[in-house]
Symmetry: C2
Subunit: 111 residues, 2 copies
Amino acid sequence: MKSDDAIMALGALAQEDRLAAFRLLMMEGDQGLPSGAIAERLAVAPTRMSFHLATLEKAGLLNARREGRHIHYSVDYLRMRSLLGFLIEDCCGSNPDICCFPISEPIQETH
Amino acid sequence: MKSDDAIMALGALAQEDRLAAFRLLMMEGDQGLPSGAIAERLAVAPTRMSFHLATLEKAGLLNARREGRHIHYSVDYLRMRSLLGFLIEDCCGSNPDICCFPISEPIQETH
DNA sequence: TTCATAATTCGACACTACAAGAATTATTGT
DNA sequence: ACAATAATTCTTGTAGTGTCGAATTATGAA
């Protein structure tokens, strides 16, 4: 992950409705949820939710796939992992005795 | 961590100079670095760096402590941990068999 | 006290992002 | 083909954010 990608992703998450949508999708796994369902559950106008989901997708945090007349949005977990890795990279000079985020090991590859 | 706090923190990180400063401080541990040193290493005007560091501090991501005529900024690791925890909370419905970010265990309390 | 250094605050300008509703595209069923 | 549903795109007004340089505050040394 490059700095510009991280900035896009962080900026995308730094908004009330988008953060709520992302966290909701985080719980839904790869199946995801359609735009309308997200808008309804968060009590946000469909047109705004659509805009926000597009922002998250452009930032690389979400994947969109059409299923009938619905479009399912789901978290790009690999991308999310990259983002977190980028943020805590070389924490505490990578000294395992001090380091607070030894991400290299503990977070396994599931997605 | 509440949603508003997370939005502040994410928004603070979503800027080139601030993200670079944060990542630099992430490697420095609790000792941190003075504003001037950060500005110099990142080739950013002191007045701008000061503004950006203040933004990160208001967002709760950095701590500032005076040391002589320098002000040392350092990462608030506990706060950072809260932020990450908030982002990946209840990932995959907290099902440990599927979940990609089982944060409950792997990230130990060092800071 | 006076000077030099470190850092912050202030004011003006430009730029970007958000919100709301109307209009448009895409898909399914009759 | 036509109507209904799902979602996106567009337009306008508004508010927030970043940048820059000048001025201000705070600390340490002569």
